[in-house]
């Protein structure tokens, strides 16, 4: 397409029509690939060409406007170019406005960050368009802060909206922020609440980052909101959106320079004052002049590297440990005891068995008295040691406490973690030695609880699905493993059934089906692991049946973390229970589950859930195939 140079009066509407038609038919890439660079060059300095371009897009009929605008937004390399090409189209044309402010931001979420930058930068560049920017920000914040959106929309969409919010914030100037400070604050508070309530760590983190950014924008001098979360590439990328690079930078570079200069000036001042203090203040007049011969030099020091602080000794008997942990005021001894407890318990199984329940009780209630490094891990390892040494009574105690009154959520989740770790340890073949497996899979302590452990199990289930023959034990083939009886088999039932018993009975402080859905999610994941580890045990079929019924009762739970757990449970059942038993005892449950899985694959908003459901369906298919040659 070539333009007639100089013909100012020629009508471009025909060209617009052509453009629109081509774009609507899906050929945006080809035509705009040629058109946009040409227009870019032409409009760089020539006002006439700019106006021609604006006329061009304004004349595109409404029914094709969306395609054209979308194409332009995607093709242009920067917001300033977009501004040159489109002009004030969004203000003049209702359809364009709708596309830019509503459709691209709120209804679609497939576009890249560059597209977002283009779009929002375009809105920010012109005075006529800036009110749209504020409006857009408000609408984005409304969506971001609505609890139903947080619960039901896919994480990708939430990330897209968060990015858009951050870019908007970066474009807003001081007076604009001033005018809408109150609304920003209210929406931030609401939004943060819904985000932190979510069970998925990714959503929580998104909420935290956006809230921090908003807070830093509205409180430039006061204390700002600061959260603790894992910094990784995604977080860094999001935070980088807050700062706009020049030449579009709205935040003037001067304050930065000023600050740098001031910091630089502060440093030499500090150094100077240090030097002064050395010379000005001689506290001791008796300053031997350095010129005096130092006859101390002929006294050669001995090696003093062994000279260290004294350490108090830890008690050597389990009962002494109990005494120290319950009563002693001596903090050094208490610290030493906590550090030594796990190894003592493992070395003295007979002594531990006598006091196992008491020790478990003490450990469950043990609070951090002093600041020891790794206190949580030490306590957990001691608990696991006690549980593996005397599984049945301690498991009975722990599972009963899980459903008791007046425990914190943290303690209940500790119980679940400890049960899983102990089950893992018990089900490992002992010939591998005790030291190895504690290194292979780290215990589940983390600041964002839940994420590590669920990834572990998912990975395990994935591996299994990929190749049935691969061993679950760690490391490449280590020759013939000596077989030993599975210690978990006799106690699996004690771990599993009490946990599944009372989930629907709410207590005053603990309501699994209500507010405490996070703990429910953890419980479900725990049951999945216990089920998996119970493979080849006697109780496995009964466990499988109970678990499938449990899953059936909870299958429509709104929390996606819980649903992921339920799907892991199904995987564990399919992998753990021997195929014959599955088909004989649980045919109805399996069929029902299969239809539910089909539903999940199609309709569940969460990507992970859909994936897990698909894997389960595959497992079921494999099961069927396995049993095909065997005549029924």
């Amino acid at each position: 397409v070539c333009f007639i140079p100089g013909g100012l009066d020629c009508s471009i509407s025909f060209v617009s029509h052509v453009l629109g038609k081509v774009c609507v038919h899906g050929r945006q890439k080809e035509i705009l690939g040629v058109l946009v660079p040409r227009l870019m060059d032409l409009t760089k300095s020539d006002c006439i060409w700019q106006r021609i371009c604006w006329r061009l897009v304004e004349c595109v009929p409404d029914r094709w406007m969306e395609a054209v605008v979308l194409g332009f937004v995607q093709r242009t390399p920067g917001a300033d170019v977009l501004s040159r090409l489109l002009g004030n189209l969004v203000v003049k044309n209702k359809k364009a406005q709708f596309v830019v402010t509503q459709k691209l931001l709120l209804l679609q979420y497939c576009h890249t960050t560059a597209v977002l930058q283009n779009l929002l930068g375009y809105l920010a560049l012109d005075g006529l368009r800036r009110p749209l920017l504020t409006k857009v920000l408000q609408e984005l914040l409304e969506t971001w802060g609505s609890s139903s959106a947080v619960k039901h929309s896919p994480p990708e969409q939430q990330q897209y909206i968060s990015k858009a919010i951050l870019i908007c914030l970066s474009h807003l100037k001081e007076p604009e922020i001033e005018s809408c400070r109150q609304e920003l604050l209210t929406s931030m508070m609401e939004g943060v609440k819904c985000h932190l309530d979510s069970s998925l760590p990714q959503i929580r983190r998104l909420g935290m980052i956006v809230a921090e950014s908003i807070s830093s924008k509205i409180n430039t001098d006061g204390p700002v909101l600061k959260f603790q979360y894992e910094e990784d590439d995604e977080a860094r990328e999001l935070k980088s959106l807050l700062v706009q690079t020049p030449p579009l930078c709205v935040v003037p570079s001067l304050p930065d320079d000023d600050r740098n200069e001031k910091a630089g000036a502060a440093l030499p001042l500090v150094l100077e004052s240090d030097k002064k203090s050395h010379t000005v203040a001689p506290v001791m007049p008796v300053e031997e002049s350095d010129a005096e011969l130092d006859s101390d030099d002929d006294l050669i020091p001995y090696d003093m590297s062994e000279d260290k602080e004294l350490k108090t000794k830890a008690p050597v008997y389990i009962r002494d440990c109990i005494e120290v942990l319950t009563g002693s005021e001596d903090v050094d001894k208490w610290e030493a005891t906590v550090k030594a407890l796990e190894s003592l318990v493992r070395k003295n199984p007979a002594a531990t068995k006598e006091v196992s329940v008491e020790l478990a009780k003490i450990l469950l209630h043990l609070e951090e008295k002093t600041c020891i490094e790794g206190f949580v891990e030490l306590r957990q390892r001691a608990q696991v040691a006690v549980l593996t040494t005397d599984p049945i009574p301690v498991a009975k105690y722990l599972t009963s406490q899980f459903y008791s009154l007046n425990y914190s959520l943290r303690q209940r989740m500790d119980i679940l973690d400890v049960l899983v770790l102990a089950a893992r340890e018990l089900s490992y073949p002992k010939s591998h030695g005790k030291t190895k497996h504690s290194g292979a899979q780290k215990p589940c302590i983390q600041l964002l609880p839940g994420s590590d452990s669920s990834k572990d199990w998912r990975r395990i289930v994935d591996e299994r699905i990929k190749s049935k023959t691969r061993r679950f034990a760690k490391g490449p083939s280590q020759g013939e493993l000596a077989s030993s009886p599975n210690e978990f088999s006799s106690v699996a039932g004690h771990f599993f059934f009490p946990l599944i018993q009372h989930f629907d009975r709410p207590l005053t402080t603990f309501d699994l089906l209500g507010e405490d859905h996070f703990v429910l999610g953890r419980l479900v994941h725990t049951l999945a692991v216990l089920m998996y580890l119970a493979v080849n045990t006697v109780a496995v079929t009964a466990m499988g049946k109970a678990l499938l019924e449990f899953v059936w009762a909870l299958r429509f739970h709104t929390d996606s973390y819980v649903r992921q757990g339920l799907l892991s449970c199904i995987s564990s059942v399919l992998l753990g229970v021997p195929a014959q038993h599955l088909l004989e005892d649980m045919t109805e449950e399996l069929l029902e589950t299969q239809s539910w899985l089909g539903d999940v694959v199609e309709k569940d908003p969460d990507g992970d859930c859909r994936r897990l459901a698909l894997q389960n369906l595959l497992l079921m298919e494999n099961l069927k195939k396995k049993l095909e040659p065997v005549p029924s």
């Binding site: 506290v283 001791m284 007049p285 008796v286 130092d294 006859s295 101390d296 002929d298 006294l299 050669i300 020091p301 001995y302 090696d303 003093m304 062994e306 000279d307 260290k308 602080e309 004294l310």
Partner: protein, 328 residues
């Protein structure tokens, strides 16, 4: 590459009780045997023969109460011992005798070791904690007459005197007394006027032990905290802190400076004996032998420098004898 610290030259066992006090008497000529006196918690004073490493005699004069100070008065035939039975006994040990010739009743239930200074031939001054809590009494021996009683001013709140040191610039000049108190301060007293010349707060905790070098007019004190404090006396008889030295573990029971003023030793609650150079307080060695608190350290007074020894007595009933830095 620094050498590892030396082992004790020998270890004296046999006290069967914690050792609280040590004193050497090795200055005599041949055929005099060098001896070490030790005071134990069970009330016995053992006389150790440093040639045979055995106990020559055991003196029982304090009714089985702990002996926490032993000193000789001019040679090993005259011994002074202080025990928890509130008595200071003087012994005559010449020609194998073991009898108490005289005793002073202190009426003090504290742990403050008395301090002796010879002012003239046959005349001694002894400073000890007196019956009233904050007071120090100075007696003349052997007459046992009171020279003065040093009372801190009302409201000073110094607490008990913890350690004392009588000294004089040269024999015959005015003796002065340095006293370390429970509140962490060291006070310099003038004995003739009975007034305090200077007071210095060197520690936050009670001063457990102090020693003073009259030649350099510099002293050192240790307490139950982790800091050693070095202070000096200027021409106006004022005490000032020179520096402090931080230790690895808290608690010092005893400090002593060797007679040649080259090194000093500290006895620690962390079972270790530390040796420092006296000039600049350079740490020289950490002697780690004992398995319980070291209560006392003492340097020997051998004429021959190469024979000099260091003794340390500990709660683990042992006395370790070390030969360290004898070349200088």
């Amino acid at each position: 590459m620094a050498l590892p610290p030396p082992d004790p030259q020998f270890v004296l066992r046999g006290t069967s009780a914690a050792v609280h006090a040590l004193h050497f008497s090795c200055g005599g000529q041949e055929p005099d045997v060098p001896v070490l006196f030790s005071g134990s918690e069970n009330g016995f004073i053992h006389i150790w023969n440093l040639k045979t490493h055995r106990v020559d005699a055991a003196l029982d004069g304090h009714g089985r109460t702990s002996v926490y100070c032993v000193q000789t008065m001019g040679g090993k035939d005259r011994l002074l011992s202080q025990g928890r039975d509130q008595r200071i006994c003087m012994w005559d040990l010449a020609e194998g005798r073991t009898s108490v010739t005289d005793s002073v009743c202190t009426e003090n239930v504290g742990f403050c070791r008395c301090s002796l200074a010879k002012v003239a031939q046959g005349r001694w001054l002894m400073a000890m904690a007196a019956r009233a809590t904050e007071e120090v009494q100075v007696l003349e021996l052997p007459s046992k007459t009171s020279v003065c009683t040093l009372k801190p001013e009302v409201g000073a709140k110094l607490g008990m005197p913890m350690c004392l040191k009588l000294w004089q610039l040269s024999c015959g000049s005015q003796p002065l007394l340095l006293a370390g108190y429970e509140d962490g301060s060291v006070v310099l007293w003038n004995l003739s006027t009975g007034k305090a010349l200077s007071q210095l707060v060197c520690h936050q905790e009670p001063v457990m032990s102090l020693d003073f070098d009259s030649e350099k007019a510099k002293g050192i004190s240790g307490s139950s905290e982790k800091v050693l404090s070095i202070w000096s006396l200027n021409e106006q008889q004022n005490l000032q802190v020179c520096k402090t030295h931080k230790l690895v573990n808290a608690g010092i029971s005893d400090i002593t400076i060797r007679a040649d003023k080259k090194i000093l030793a500290t006895a620690g609650w962390d079972h270790r004996i530390r040796i420092f150079g006296w000039k600049k307080l350079k740490p020289l060695a950490v002697l780690d032998y004992h398995t319980a608190t070291v209560h006392c350290v003492s340097f020997s007074d051998h004429q021959n420098p190469s024979e000099r020894l260091l003794a340390a007595g500990s709660k683990d009933h042992r006395i370790s004898i070390w030969s360290i830095y004898t070349q200088t």
